[in-house]
Amino acid sequence: MDRAAIDTRIRSILEPFNKKEVAVTDATTFAGDLEFDSLTVMDFVAAIEDEFDIIISMNQQAEIETYGQLVDAVTKMAAE
């Protein structure tokens, strides 16, 4: 699966969590722009993990601040 396809799938998972309908680019931050709190992060991460059958540990989550970084990380994990 290429990056564009993964981007599309993550975008649709993100939609219900994007309550303020922020325009999402690779530079959009989860904590700042999307105002995700820790509970939202858990539900959102769980949805992505289930979609791609991967684990994004909290250690890895700490490295992911923007939407683009998430797509990159999932692309890499899904390829492994």
Partner: protein
């Protein structure tokens, strides 16, 4: 939960520069100042001037029923327990001034570990200076770089801190969700070490984990299992061994963590296990090695209390009766509770928000009742809770008195 301080901090701007390392606390300082400005008594700086019994104290000058301690089995004033402490204080002095692995292991520490092994029917027991250190030490020591810790999202701070202190990959799952746990276990790379961390009773809502199913799945997936039984020791399970006993999974759990600061009635923590290599923990576990051991009087009271808890069937029965009555009574009054049925000695009353919660807490204290006010981030789903924890020494009449206090306070604050 936050420790109380006597006065609310006031945000202060230093001359010459606007911020320093304390600036990151400004939001919390402002929230606290706002709460106190509303006129409620400070929920986090209560002082008990006199303790009259396990269920009564003089708090801020008032005779108060205690419904927010973890003194589940009411052992703090047991005459035999007190006597053993006094004897140890006389015979062994006030403190050990040393680590367990150097000069800090006295006869009393061994006897306390013997009592724990007997209580749980397990081969090994290790006593720590606090329950917090038991979780911190065991988790950070056994789960290292490249290993995976799979844990419930509502785990206690000591579990999270143990995870942070080790270098393992940390994988949380939704509270008490068996499927979510299983999915994550199955995705862990082959060959990696796996530790599943669960609690018997989760202390915020007082709900119990589905240990029978969860432990089975963890073992099927090759994980070791650690269960924290801090809030169940003494009164859940036929012999008071906790939810692991009640669920029939004592033999499948690798490590049980517990504390002396709840049912046992003093302070300290422990880990019991049947693992053949368990004793090496005494040398590898830094929060065990690099701290002073418990004072002789503390381990003596703990050992006496643990032995008495083995035969405390009457106390267990009384505690459960009180829990059922309080839970049902509060439900009938129209309060929203954390669990549909009473699952433990904790009955959590859900408040609409922090302001109403603090007002209700304050109103109950004026009535002469102490409960715990719990607020985010200690609580799940950002809830504000009034947590009631029962004691085996609460009488049936006291429980009725408590319900009357809740009714009056709830109506005054406009919650029911």
């Amino acid at each position: 939960m936050s420790e109380g301080v006597m006065q609310a901090d006031k945000p202060q701007v230093l001359d010459g520069e606007g911020t320093d390392l304390f600036s990151k606390f400004d939001d919390t300082i402002a929230m606290r100042a706002n709460l106190l400005a509303s006129g409620v008594e400070d929920p986090f700086s209560l002082v008990m001037e006199k303790v009259l019994s396990p269920t009564r104290a003089v708090c801020n000058g008032r005779d108060t029923i205690l419904l927010g301690t973890y003194n589940y089995m009411g052992m703090t004033f047991d005459p035999e327990v007190i006597e053993s402490g006094i004897q140890a204080l006389r015979d062994f002095g006030t403190g050990t001034t040393g680590s367990r692995v150097l000069n800090g292991t006295y006869q009393g520490h061994k006897e306390c570990e013997d009592a724990l092994r007997e209580f749980y029917g397990m081969d090994h027991a290790m006593v720590f200076s606090t329950g917090y250190q038991a979780n911190l030490g065991i988790i950070s020591t056994i789960a290292g770089k490249g290993d995976y810790v799979v844990l419930d999202i509502d785990s206690h701070a000591s579990i999270w801190d143990g995870c942070a202190m080790g270098n393992a990959e940390i994988v949380p799952f939704k509270h008490n969700d068996i499927t979510a746990m299983e999915k994550r276990l199955k995705r862990i790379p082959e060959g990696a070490g796996k530790l599943v961390v669960l609690e018997g009773v989760y202390s915020m809502l007082g709900d119990v984990a589905p240990l029978k199913e969860m432990v089975k799945i963890a073992k099927e997936n090759g994980a070791m299992v650690l269960v924290d039984e801090a809030h169940s020791m003494g009164f859940i399970g036929e012999n008071g061994r906790g939810v692991v006993e009640d669920a029939g999974v004592m033999d499948d759990v690798d490590l049980i963590i517990g504390t002396f600061s709840k049912s046992v009635g003093t302070v300290g923590g422990f880990c019991v296990s049947n693992h053949p290599k368990f004793e090496i923990m005494r040398l590898m576990c830094r929060p065990y090695v690099f701290t002073a051991s418990l004072p002789p009087s503390v381990v003596a009271t703990a050992a006496t209390s643990i032995r008495k808890l083995m035969g405390a069937a009457d106390k267990r029965a009384n505690l459960w009766q009180s829990s059922r009555r309080l839970h049902g009574g509060l439900q009938d009054l129209g309060f929203t509770l954390g669990t549909d049925i009473p699952q433990s000695a904790i009955v959590a009353v859900i408040m609409p928000d922090l302001e109403k919660g603090a007002a209700m807490w304050s109103a109950l204290l004026s009535e002469g009742l102490y409960v715990n006010l719990a607020r985010p981030p200690a609580t799940p789903a950002n809830m504000t809770l009034l947590r009631c924890s029962l004691c085996a020494e609460h009488t049936a009449e006291e429980v009725e008195t408590i319900l009357g206090m809740f009714e009056r306070a709830g109506k005054a604050v406009g919650i029911i």
